[in-house]
Structures are given as structure tokens and as C-alpha cells.
């Protein structure tokens, strides 16, 4: 019978049906970071349990690392404590830690793929909701809480409820200046921030087929912002080419055997979906969020909604968001003055993102009132960007060039908004207080749009920048 990738991967990893109806699922790869794991290791110790599959567990440090002066011990005592705890826990359990000296450190969702740890057909868990990123490879990847981190450490398993599958079919050609980020913001705007609850999102169609792995990761990354805990793309030639030669990917004959298996776990033609949604990529325009959840967005050439434009039941949320942002319904988003520009995060801090942003800023300068920073997603991304001279393009344009980490995506280090600053950000969440100031305001957009806003000092339409920058064709 024709089935979906989700069903095949689920079946291959099913240990048993639990008495309560949940499925006990084997976890092929467990990724660990410093924020959600220390309590899990403590719980394990308190119960006298050991880590069952240390060789299927990999750790790194990303959320709390400073992006300037990464020398140990960190100036920030609490950050130092958290990293020290992670080092101790990994040492005791025999877990490989990709630390600051490894050359492979970075945001957990950036390094998994670039090291070839993330592979099609795997189940992947991590104590972080953006674990959905790894679905870009045709893995079934879940964000979990700390008690579940404990469960996976102790048993390499999770108890999970079944998921439905919604196929999201995107076809057509993206216009220049429109990116994967705009596709996923469009999907979230259309289906709502909780439209995906209970579903895995399968992204497909001619547009997705043509996207690079970096771009597919951007889309899968924000599945959770649409309420879907899992998002994936069926593995294809693009996936296999990306993986070939990566440090943890199979090599030689084993690679060919792997490709055969990877092909076999893709959704079959004629597979039945619980829901199907179709989207025309050609109609999507550069998108900017104006509110306090990622579904509150408009095209850059649109105006903010007014209370009269939305259903009565949505009016309180609209008014709350407009009041928090200090915006008025009916105003254009274009021209909104910004104070900070942030290119970074597991959504958009891979090499291709930095290239797109650099293309916009090359030969230009950041507006005098704007503080702009680029935080590469990993040490490997930073090194590759430096080899191409992207760091120089950014610094000459007035951007700060930092070392890898989560940084201002959630502001657990020193990088944060102050007061009511407005930030053009390539990250994934515009929640109240997300970027470190309780009254700080976040506008989510593509890295190219962030770069354009940094230069202009306000939200602008990247399509109006000179044509030479816009060679990207999706």
C-alpha cells in the first residue's frame, strides 16, 4: 500500500504499542545542548540510570555562548556554569561534545546537517522546538522537553501519540527577492500559528523540489511556528548530493546502500494524506511580521490590518499586538524605522543566507542609527564565509561579525535588544520579550530583507534594490 514517509519511518522505529495507546519509538539521533539538558542528567543520576546509547547522542553549546570573547572561563558566570555542567555530563556519560575548540560548534540545528549526522529516515530528538529543521532531510525530527530528554538519555525512546500528515504542495517559480523564509511565513499566515497542531507537515511540489537543502531547512525549521511539531521534505538527489562526503555520512559502498534505503522511505506516489494544501509560489511577495506571533505578517507592500478587517473574535489579539508594537492598523509596514538588524539563528544563518545578505550590503553602508550584526550559525559556516570574504563585506558595511551561536534569536547571552528597540531579524520568533528586552519589538523577514533594512534604516522592499543583487531564482 502506498504510504507516507512519516508512516514508514514511524513503523521502522516502533518498539511497541504502549498500554495507553501511545507508540514507543526508537530515537536514532539525540542532539543535546546546555539549556534543556542539565536537569535531565540530574534526574537520571537521581534514579541511578545510565545513558543507554551515548554513541547515538551528540552535544554542542549554542544558546548561552557569547559571540564576542569566547575565552574560558566566560565573563558571564551563569553561562560558564551551564557549559561546565554540560562538559561534566558529557564526560561522565561518554557523549561526544562539539565544544568551542572543536571547529564544529554551532547552533545544534545547523551543525547536525552540516556534519552529516542528520540523515533521511532517522528519528531525531532534541530538547528544542526547532528540531523540526532536520526534517528537511526526510528525517522525522521532534522537539522535546527536559523530562523527555531524560527519557531519551535513559532509554533512547519516546512515548508519542500518532500524528496526522498534511501535504503542503508549493508550485511555481519564486520571484526575485522572494525566499524560502517568505514561503514559510506565507504558510503560517494562511494556516495559522496553531493550524498544524496534531499534524506533521510534508512540504513538496515543484518549488520545494528546486530548493537547496539550506532553503528546505529554513522551511522545516519554522513548522513549529505553525503549530506542527514535525515538518519534512522527501529526500531526493539534492539531499543525497548534500550528504555525500560529510564527516558522519556513510562513505563508499555504504553510501550507495544508504541512498537505496533513503529512496525507499520517501512517500510513495498515491500516498494518502489527512489533508492537502496548495500554494502558488509565484504569488508570494517579501513578507514581514508586524505583530507578536509569526502568523501576524503582511507583504512588504501591504498595510497593517485594521480591527475592521478581521473577525470580531480576532480583534483582541490584533489590538494587543498593535498596542505592543506601537503600530496603527492601516499604516504601511514599509518605512518602519528600525534600530537593530540581526542576521542569524537556525532559521537563516547558513552560508547561503549570509551570501544573500552580503549581496545586498556589498558596497553600501548600514544606516547611522542602526546597530547591525551577523552571527553565523556555526563555526564551519563562519570559516566558509571568511574564505569567501563575506566577513569583510559585512564589516566594511558597518556590521559586527560575530562568532557562532543563537545570540539575539533569544538573547540568553549578552546580545539583546534594549528598551523598545525595533529589530529587523532573520530569526523565527517575534514573541513579546523574545530578543531580551521585555518591550523590544521584532520584525521577522528574510536575511536579504534584513540586510536591506539595515542599509536603509527602515523596512524596505528588497525587490526595489538594484537588479544585480537579485540573481536568486528559488
Amino acid at each position: 500500500m502506498a504510504s507516507t514517509l512519516l508512516a514508514k519511518v514511524w513503523d521502522a522505529h516502533t518498539v511497541r504499542k504502549l498500554p495507553n495507546g501511545q507508540t514507543q519509538l526508537f530515537v536514532g539521533l539525540h542532539l543535546v545542548h546546555e539549556v534543556t539538558s542539565p536537569q535531565a542528567f540530574d534526574m537520571l543520576r537521581a534514579r541511578g540510570w545510565r545513558v543507554r546509547y551515548p554513541e547515538r547522542t551528540i552535544a554542542t553549546v549554542d544558546h548561552i555562548v557569547p559571540t564576542r570573547n569566547v575565552r574560558r572561563p566566560f565573563v558571564d558566570v551563569m553561562a560558564e556554569d551551564m557549559l561546565a555542567a554540560l562538559e561534566r555530563n558529557c564526560r561522565e556519560a561518554g557523549i561526544r561534545l562539539l565544544d568551542l575548540d572543536s571547529g564544529s560548534q554551532g547552533i545544534v540545528h545547523v551543525i547536525g546537517p552540516e556534519l552529516g549526522l542528520t540523515q533521511p529516515g532517522m528519528t531525531i530528538a532534541c530538547g528544542d522546538s526547532h528540531t523540526s529543521t532536520h526534517g528537511a532531510f526526510g528525517a522525522v525530527a521532534f522537539g522535546i522537553g527536559t523530562s523527555q530528554v531524560r527519557d531519551v538519555l535513559a532509554s533512547q525512546c519516546l512515548a508519542l501519540d500518532p500524528l496526522k500528515v498534511r501535504r503542503i504542495d508549493v508550485s511555481g517559480t519564486l520571484a526575485p527577492g522572494v525566499y524560502a523564509k517568505d514561503i514559510i511565513l506565507e504558510i503560517i499566515r494562511r494556516l495559522g500559528v496553531n493550524g498544524g497542531v496534531g499534524y506533521a507537515y510534508e512540504y513538496g511540489g515543484t518549488t520545494i523540489d528546486r530548493l537547496s537543502m539550506d532553503e528546505r531547512m529554513t522551511i522545516c525549521n519554522m513548522s513549529i511556528e505553525g503549530g506542527a511539531r514535525v515538518g519534512y521534505v522527501n529526500p531526493d538527489r539534492t539531499t543525497f548530493d548534500y550528504l555525500k562526503g560529510r564527516p558522519f555520512a556513510p562513505s563508499g559502498d555504504r553510501f550507495d546502500a544508504a541512498v537505496e534505503w533513503w529512496k525507499s522511505i520517501a512517500s510513495d506516489p498515491g500516498a494518502r494524506y489527512d489533508d492537502v494544501v496548495r500554494l502558488d509560489a509565484a504569488a508570494i511577495r517579501p513578507t514581514v511580521t508586524w505583530g507578536i506571533n509569526p502568523g501576524q505578517s503582511v507583504y512588504v507592500d501591504e498595510r497593517l490590518p485594521r480591527a475592521a478587517d478581521v473577525a470580531q473574535s480576532d480583534q483582541p489579539a490584533l489590538n494587543e499586538a498593535l498596542a505592543f508594537m506601537g503600530f496603527h492598523g492601516g499604516d504601511p509596514i514599509k518605512g518602519t524605522r528600525i534600530d537593530v538588524a540581526f542576521v542569524g539563528s537556525c532559521t537563516n544563518a547558513r552560508l547561503s543566507d549570509l551570501r544573500e545578505a552580503a549581496r545586498i550590503v556589498r558596497g553600501r553602508h548600514v544606516a547611522p542609527h542602526v546597530k547591525a550584526l551577523v552571527v553565523p550559525g556555526s563555526q564551519a559556516v563562519a570559516a566558509a564565509a571568511e574564505r569567501e570574504g563575506l566577513d569583510r563585506i559585512f564589516t566594511e558595511a558597518g556590521f559586527d561579525w560575530r562568532s557562532a551561536g543563537c545570540s539575539m534569536c533569544l538573547a540568553m547571552n549578552q546580545d539583546r535588544l534594549e528598551g523598545e528597540q525595533v529589530c529587523a531579524s532573520s530569526s523565527n520568533r517575534n514573541f513579546k520579550g523574545r530578543q531580551g528586552s521585555p518591550t523590544g519589538r521584532t520584525l521577522l523577514m528574510s536575511p536579504a530583507m534584513v540586510a536591506a533594512a539595515a542599509v536603509a534604516g527602515e523596512v524596505v522592499d528588497v525587490r526595489e534594490m538594484h537588479d544585480r543583487e537579485l540573481t536568486h531564482a528559488g
Binding site: 521502522a12 522505529h13 518498539v15 511497541r16 504502549l18 498500554p19 495507553n20 495507546g21 501511545q22 514507543q24 526508537f26 536514532g28 534543556t36 542539565p38 536537569q39 534514579r47 540510570w49 544558546h63 551563569m78 551551564m82 555542567a85 532517522m122 530538547g127 528544542d128 522546538s129 522535546i144 522537553g145 527536559t146 523530562s147 523527555q148 527519557d151 535513559a154 532509554s155 533512547q156 519516546l158 512515548a159 500559528v193 496553531n194 497542531v197 513549529i224 503549530g227 556513510p250 555504504r254 553510501f255 546502500a257 544508504a258 537505496e260 534505503w261 525507499s264 506571533n293 489579539a317 533569544l410 538573547a411 540568553m412 520568533r429 514573541f431 513579546k432 523574545r434 531580551g436 521585555p438
Partner: protein, 208 residues
């Protein structure tokens, strides 16, 4: 591990209206800078509280002394969306809340809550609104959440609640702490691992 059965929770309640209340608001990221969960409850809704209280002291429900002893939290839709941080339900549980009644929950928040023995049940939007109104009007209203009968009673009124049967069973039979269950019959886990081609290194080639 001692098994704790959870069947019914009663007490006074704390109303927290609003949809899409995310875990960054429940516990802002700067309070995650610790290797333990201890003391998290002090920072529950820290930023929302500071803002509401600046406008009018005690105006945020979590700063309002009338709700100090509440053991049930009433919310609207998509509560706990966003970050997977278990710090959010941990802080709520450590504040003395033992059940959350709402229109809907994010899946990760729901799963995290079950693992802590924090009961989350869903109701019709009208019920959530009615409960919020009753408790706001009279904070002394006694609420009882009965997951066996699938009812919530507030004063002399009774409403239906829903909870996925797996979570319901887990609370009732005390298996909500899942680790023990996952470690049972471990040979089955090892058998699955050895069948997975990527675990065995694709040595046997494609096996489908």
C-alpha cells in the same frame, strides 16, 4: 519510583485570558540561565507581570493576592506555544498549579506537562470564557477537574472537558512518568535498533 494516581483536582482557580500565550512569556529566556529548575516559579510571567503591575499594581493575575492559593489555571487557546522549554510547565507546577483548563494547548507544552503530572484538559471556548468570568467575579469559587468523569465543576455549574485518552490513562494509572515504561522489555528496543540500516552501518545494504 512511587506511583502517583491523579484522578481529580480541586481548589480555587486563577484566570489568565488570551490566546497564543507562548512559553517565552510564561518564563522569559533569561531565567533559563541555570542548571536547575529551582526557584523558577518566582519568575513566572515576569515581563507580563512587570508591565501590567507598572500600569496598576496587582493587575496581572499572577501578581494578584486574591489568586495566591489557586491550584487550577484557566486559559484560552493554544496555550504554551513556541519554545519547548519545560521550564514553563515546571514554573507553573512549582507555583502550586496542578491542573490547567483551556481551549487548546501546544503539543510540546501538553506533553511536557503530562511528564510532570500537571494535568491539562481542554474545553469548549464558551466554557473557558465562562470559567474565567466566574473566577474573576469570585476568586473563592471552588473548581473541580475530574478526569475520570471528564467534567469540570465550578460552583453549581458543570461542564464537559476533554483529554486525549493516552494522557487520561497515564494520570489515572500513575504511568505519566514514562521512563520506567520505556525501559521495560528492553530487548525489544535493541531489536529495533539492530534492524535499522543506519544503526548497523548499512552493512547489510538496503533492506527497506
Amino acid at each position: 519510583m512511587p506511583v502517583e494516581h491523579i484522578r481529580r483536582i480541586s481548589g480555587t482557580a486563577l484566570p489568565l485570558p488570551g490566546d497564543n500565550i507562548d512559553t517565552d512569556r510564561i518564563i522569559p529566556a533569561r531565567y533559563l540561565r541555570s542548571v536547575s529548575f529551582e526557584g523558577l516559579e518566582q519568575h513566572l510571567f515576569a515581563d507580563d507581570r512587570a508591565q501590567a503591575d507598572a500600569a496598576q499594581p496587582g493587575s496581572h493575575p499572577f501578581s494578584n493576592a486574591r489568586y495566591d492559593n489557586a491550584s487550577i489555571l484557566i486559559v484560552n487557546a493554544n496555550f504554551g506555544c513556541g519554545s519547548s522549554r519545560e521550564h514553563a510547565p515546571q514554573a507553573i507546577r512549582r507555583r502550586g498549579i496542578r491542573a490547567v483548563v483551556g481551549e487548546s494547548f501546544s503539543e510540546i507544552f501538553f506533553g511536557n506537562s503530562v511528564a510532570l503530572g500537571l494535568v491539562c484538559v481542554t474545553t469548549a471556548p464558551e466554557t473557558a470564557d465562562a470559567l474565567i468570568q466566574m473566577v474573576t467575579a469570585d476568586p473563592a469559587t471552588t473548581i473541580a477537574v475530574d478526569i475520570e468523569a471528564l467534567k469540570v465543576t465550578a460552583g453549581d455549574r458543570t461542564f464537559d472537558i476533554r483529554i486525549p485518552s493516552a494522557a487520561r490513562d497515564a494520570f489515572l494509572d500513575g504511568s505519566w512518568d514514562a521512563t520506567g515504561l520505556l525501559l521495560d522489555r528492553y530487548e525489544q528496543v535493541e531489536a529495533v535498533a539492530t534492524r535499522l540500516p543506519y544503526v548497523t552501518g548499512f552493512a547489510q545494504g538496503a533492506s527497506g
